[in-house]
Symmetry: D2
Subunit: 364 residues, 4 copies
């Protein structure tokens, strides 16, 4: 109940602090006979890793993942899959100046109060470094989903006040290819340029900025999601809100939907041109009554600006005395480009879990 596990049937448990020896994850419940493409998993981690471009942190870590168990001769065996990612380039001396002060909008104060102790080296467990373990596990979940034809793709849809125009989810594969063509991971090339320039200017000011990630799931079969508390969008929401710096989640019509009328919001059912049931509009975001309806799933995730800035800030120390904190270390001016693979990973974990859970809906 200490909250380091996620999922019910495809269940992961992560461990590790930013400046400990290693971080990692155990996946319990992955069915046997799934082919494990380690290069694919490493590739997903590479999308998240620090030091990719001028608009991400300059910290360099190779984030090399190693599978310790659960895979035999290239296939899953049905036993728990442990993945380990050693920590490198830790430079914990960068953080010694923070031992005794609470960094604004970080978790220092809450951890210290909750536990009476904290690993003060760079955030410890509260660091977004933990999400590397999620990406590794999520990559396996993606492989499971791919084997069933389900695809997940996200992109950066806003940085600060710069919004990308609505991107069509016509061809997920093409979309992914386009996305990786720019370092900010926005599927619209013109907007991407604008975003990159803006982030670079923010970086030079020693400041940070927030943004949004939009995620799509294509080819999701009808029936995923459990009604009442474990609605598919409720589980996606929890998954996204558990990512560091996320302050909001919406799916389908989202917050804008609250301004609409029923007569314009209702998605009318039709038979589409291949004889499948579909809806004309998709304000439901692919989910009705908490259950996927076969339309593309679409949701958006809002990230606040990273709390670590390269500017002096007032704060207090652990005695409650006024103190000042100056920004050191190496951090991201804007987290959203590196958040894209994390959003996809968490979505994959939710969908893989509900794919398995749905196997028992009917008695066959």
């Amino acid at each position: 109940m200490a909250g380091n596990s996620f999922g019910q049937l495809f269940r992961i448990t992560t461990f590790g602090e930013s400046h400990g020896e290693a971080i990692g994850v155990i996946i319990d419940g992955c069915p046997s006979q799934l082919t494990v493409d380690l290069d694919y998993i490493q590739g997903e981690l590479d999308k998240r890793k620090p030091g990719q471009s001028k608009i991400t942190t300059q910290r360099k870590e190779s984030d090399t993942v190693k599978i310790l168990s659960g895979v035999f001769e290239g296939k899953t065996t049905g036993t728990p899959i442990a993945m380990l990612i050693p920590n490198e380039d830790q430079r914990s001396k960068d953080y010694t100046h923070n031992v005794d002060v609470f960094r604004p909008s970080h978790a220092d104060y809450t951890y210290q109060t909750k536990y009476g102790i904290r690993d003060h080296r760079g955030g410890g467990r509260s660091s977004a470094r933990e999400t590397a373990a999620r990406v590794a596990a999520g990559a396996l979940a993606k492989l499971l989903l791919k084997s069933q034809g389900i695809e997940i793709v996200a992109h950066v849809s806003s940085v600060g006040k710069i919004d990308a125009p609505n991107v069509e989810i016509k061809d997920v594969q093409e979309f992914i290819n386009d996305r990786e063509k720019n370092i900010v991971r926005c599927a619209d090339p013109a907007t991407a340029e604008e975003m990159i320039e803006y982030i670079d200017s923010i970086r030079k000011q020693g400041d940070t900025v927030g943004g949004k990630v939009t995620c799509y799931v294509k080819n999701c079969p009808v029936g995923l999601g459990e009604p009442v508390f474990d609605k598919l969008h409720a589980e996606l929401g929890k998954a996204m809100l558990s990512i560091n710096a996320v302050h909001g989640f919406e799916f389908g019509s989202g917050f804008a939907g609250s301004e609409m009328r029923g007569s314009e919001h209702n998605d009318i059912f039709v038979k589409n041109n291949v004889g499948d049931i579909a809806t004309i509009t998709n304000f439901s975001g692919g989910i009705q009554g908490g259950i996927s309806n076969g339309m593309p799933i679409e949701f958006r995730v809002a990230f606040k600006p990273v709390a670590t800035i390269m500017q002096a800030q007032a704060t207090i120390d652990s005695e409650g005395n006024a103190a000042e904190i100056s920004g050191k270390g190496r951090h991201d001016p804007c987290v959203v480009p590196r958040a894209v693979p994390i959003v996809e990973a968490m979505a994959a974990l939710v969908l893989a879990d509900h794919y398995l859970r749905n196997k028992n809906s009917k008695l066959i």
Copy 2:
């Protein structure tokens, strides 16, 4: 894993369909020796019940709750508390015309496909009637929280495009009293009038409209919430997104925070005038690193417009043939006023659960 339970240590399981004999809930994990005020619980249900005013559904149900177990001589005993709410005024004949068609933006199609069978009388399990059981359980959670000084209060902060001005959370008690003075449950009297008028006009058109609920938690101690996956706001998010018609959740700065810079978003720590640690601003919404920081918790929930409208709509039947559906039955033109006690109930369930979970953070 079928998703009808919520919470870990203060854990509820609900049951019942809108047109079955009864709905109800079992609460497992409520500590012993809590005084149970049945009138308070019934009062919470009365705030949610149909037929309260001209802007809610005209369906009349008394929603009388009965406690079957777990309470002895007015106090909880530590054993499971079962609450039963019989269904009245079921009029399932109102729904016979819907047996074979899929209502737009309802759960008919997804339930039918997932389970191969559905209780077609008024939504069955997908009906918001299920939330009465949540409100009953949430009322008990509120009593537990009250015994620790923690208070929860929500109000309607928007209806369609009508936004209430920011309400200060100065005095939760006064706020609640104000709120119940108007039938739309908006804490700002002038806006309330405007909302009521608007909903009434929508109702006359046989249409529906969405809106938002804003919720505050006062006097929450530091330390509630488990880092990583079970962050307090992630659990609140899941709770809210599991409520019928919810399409979005945000806390603290929310979606707007994604447009801000770190230097303006960071909440600076200070010692407040009674010597407690506080922050000057509260963009963190009372939660940092997934753990409550002692500041008021604040979040917003977006509701789409109710799908049942009193207008004819195109749809398909279970064979996929084009069909028409005409609105019958008695439904809410705007769900948000009745959603206020549901939002509070779900928030209370999350907080009660994490209040108990936090007992084991430190070895004492």
Copy 3:
């Protein structure tokens, strides 16, 4: 985590005290489209109910079960199934003399200390009355298993020192028929007579006696049970040990197996006459490495004598002063005949749960 739920995918939660208004159970996770034979469920309850014969308690309760939800037109819908059994003939005045003393070998002292409060009317939640809810849920699990050809049958294999000779599991159906021919539910008629006579003599002395129940599962497919912690026999063991008065559990060779050598204990694999893989002996009790191997599952459950005796006993009161307690009320001289349907019900719950869990072992 308060321990009133059992199972993961076929999950039950029971509620209710012996002298409250009702007891009941919610089953969450039963797949849709299972035909629900209410007469069968009631029949199982009738086997457990008090007042069946001279060797069971003379308390009369009809134990009539009512289904409140989750079943529509005779079939499960995939939503939670709530079952309610009202309490009758409560006579709580019989128990007023026990308010302030701790009955020997009952749960009075431990409940009072753990919770600081207890429902002292006849045991409250610790009463074996709670098992009626298990039998109702177990009957549904049996229906699920029957639909897959899996059968469960138990009988009384010992009362005090009277052991039944080893019963062959040749034909489960015949075995069940034989069993119900005698009131002690021992499949061997001659031993049954002896047992009945002995229990009757014990009853006349105002004393009680223990005994054992042996249970078989026939036609269990290979593959049920999850290795490591949720081994099939570990789950069966927990299920049985959770039944009131159970002090021991063994499967296959059991305790006697600890005296054997590997060379005599190993079950040699062969192809049987229908071409299936089988073992010559079955010391493994149908379970190897925690997973069913297709052979009949066999286990034994030891019940201590019922603690309530019709004799005066020394004890202490809640202040710790010496006191005397005299046996009143109406109780069983030997619990094992009525325990037979409870053992079967718990076995069915374990198997139904693992039947569902096994669906996700392989990727298909």
Copy 4:
């Protein structure tokens, strides 16, 4: 739900196969501020490790444990504690002859059928090697319990038909010291000699033999255990039955209790000489109604003989053809001496979990 986790609040998840790179465990839910004595943890592992004496397997593995996370400056931080034990001396070539045959009374056949694939090198995940991870986690649980004064001690109470006389639980500390004086871990020195001689003779015949372990818990406070399904003895039973080769579990009077009368079995309450409530006899084994009553907890665990023998045995291959298997590799003639620390570890995990769970019984 794949069964590689144990416990609710003090929750472990193990991973790793016998011939993979490493095995390990994550402990989630250990409260912060527990002092971690790594030497103590290593010491517990040393009691379980292979190659300790002539009566255990001659396989040599150092079983060196490394803590990867969750401990900072010698204390737990409240974050997950990952422990890794690399596999050494794997010699998987010893097992190549078994690739295609099903070893009698092993898990080869059931794993192969359940998963359609198995790691055939020495048992893979079904190997008792997995229990090293349990011992490491159990050692931490023991440290938690020790900090509360609770002590656990087990010894070998029988080997084959050689029973140790009843050992008094007078002084747990002395008892432990005595126990480690002999290689068979029986607290009675004379019986120990007899057991050692017997096991040695069995070993020379290439055979194996079963035995029993008896375990005591001293200074357990009143109140641990959750009534109904998670009774303390039901959880202990599941824990023990999940250990490789265990075929039976009993507590207190156990199977012998089924032959007794209520009038002799009831434990009479008294105030003991220090004013505490106690019982004269302890047939309840320290647990009443599933909750600890403050008396010593006592239970017994029956182990079947190890399946791997150094003799030729008939079996079938994966095609169902008759085959012969000859014993190779290095195995234990009698597993019970090495099972002692495993039994203690699993008991510690159950008690630590229920120690934390009991924190929320009462509202304080």
